[in-house]
Amino acid sequence: MPELRKDPLIGRWVIIATDRAKRPVDFVASHDEALSPDTCPFCAGHEGETPTEIFAIRPNGGKGNGPGWTVRVIPSIKPVLRIEGQLNRHGKGMYDLMDGIGAHEVIIETPDHIPNAADLPVEHLHAALDASRIRMVDLERDPRFRYVLWFKNYGSVAGAGRIQHSRSQLIATPVTPLRVKEELVGTRRYFEDKERCLVCDLAAQERQARVRVVIDTPHILALCPFASRFPFELWIVPKRHGCDFDKLSPEELSDLAAVFKQLLSRLKAVLNDPPYNALLHTAPFRGRHTRVGYWKTIEDDYHWHFELIPRLTRVAGFEWGSGFYINPTPPEEAAKYLREAVIEEPLAHV
């Protein structure tokens, strides 16, 4: 019997097919033709082909916009939002609009032409996540912005385009995105009821049940969520309660980088190098400008986390249009496959 499961954060129902559950072999990973390393603007030695760098890590020193870096942050070559200008909020009859102001940055995670972050040394993942954190702290200073989304696209199906060089991106927006708002509202409602954080409760329940947990380190928990929309969808949750990603501790950052490496390697092994998207949900900017509404108890009720989505099924307008998903692989089975995956350097905490 298929099951209908409800996402406890935002209340979305998902159909989980339990009868003819799909196994990893039922999915075919597809990759388009890549740009060769010679023409890749993100490789070492091609620094001149990108906009001027915003931030870089050069362990042995060296000049800006030259080689010697391990991680490099640049403005996007094709920004979806522009950094200059005012928001110019206005209405047109029943409609509301504003100018497309925002920041769009790219975090190049390696000087070498490595497409999949699964193949990066864990130190690079660590440095890239830390660089992201530093950029987020800086972007929060801009009073025009309310949110910054960290995300990552790997493979052309997942929107990575033809440049197949491992990177993540940041987009700062002048509005709080709908998805984040829904989570804020859902977790606040739970907190009002129980005076506990929903994600803390969820993590405790998962650690007890152990059927959907994939990795459990001292600081970080990775699991296949109960109401997964997609086969092999994953969540990465810090065990210590916190609403802001940028306030994570050095120990948490180390664990997080290790967990990312583990999960990406396991996905690669189990699903034959699938395209994927990853994204971070953290509390909106509040800083110096106190804002009304759901911001009041946010530090107690919201809990930052990453979502990792392998792109295996054809998601089309239907899902976007209805907000309704059919998942052919129960998360319990997905978690089992991922736990049992054979990879080169397995972590002890599986």
């Binding site: 969820l202 998207n277 239907f318």
Partner: protein
Amino acid sequence: MSELRRDPIIGRWNIIEADDPAGPEAFEVETHANSGGKCPFCFGNEGMTPPEIYVVRPPGGAANGPGWSLRVVANKFPALKIEGDLDRQGMGVYDWCNGVGAHEVIVETPDHNRQMADLSIAELTEVVKAFKARSLDLRGDKRLKYTLIFKNFGLSAGASLEHTHSQLIALPIVPKRVQEELRGAERYFEFRERCPYCDMLRHELQEHERVICENRSFVAICPFMSSFPFELWVLPKEHGADFAQLAPEPAGDFARILKETLLRLRTALRDPSYNFIIHSAPIERQAREEYHWHLELIPKLTKIAGFEWGTGFYINPTSPEQAATLLRDIQIG
């Protein structure tokens, strides 16, 4: 310069490229090849599907045999099953219930080589009638709360069979997007005591910038806050929350505008894959003053990536004004 535009009903913001919009040539062309093999929706293969639930067949023909012009059957691989109780349960932070519901397929024609856009007005009117009849019939089932009617055309839009068909899923819950629309419409109505969709229609018909085509009962527009390039909505001019209450005359007009819109889309975008969904009120007794049923069509042209997943807002490279102009001006046969 791009613009951020807000959906006046659900409050979602989208990023829309207004200055340098991407035209049809910016998107890859997908071919819809005939893959061959035995098609369960073709004449003579009726035995390959579950028994028919609804059919248009001249009098005298035997059920589940040839001679039909439209056929509704249960989905052979249903996402939900019709037997059983919901058995709602909870454990800790989680809630779930059994996947009870209906999943039906509307085979629009026995002819394998025609698309929905190729059907005659009379044939399309039968399709609309079938949508209506099946929605009304499933309403008797107390477990069900919502009927979703949709179509996937083309492989990249999720159609696993190429023979033209639409689908119906009846659910024991109201899907999230619909709930958002209902809530947003309620909020709008509370303030103004007007239906937001009626307001939108009036505004669009006055400005005419985003109107693609219209007839006596329907208007097709590219919505102001389109999430996707060439996204289009078909709205009934007369207020009505429930698609299944569509009267016979407007049903013909709906078929007419559907055909015209599909033809315009096919010509302008070189036969794109697409999805459409009929957004209608949940199964309930009273009529809603604030909700307005409509069809939303999304051509499958762009790829959804991490940003869209994370934010729930979309980057649309083609402004709806540009899309509407193109679809309006294109010459169709």
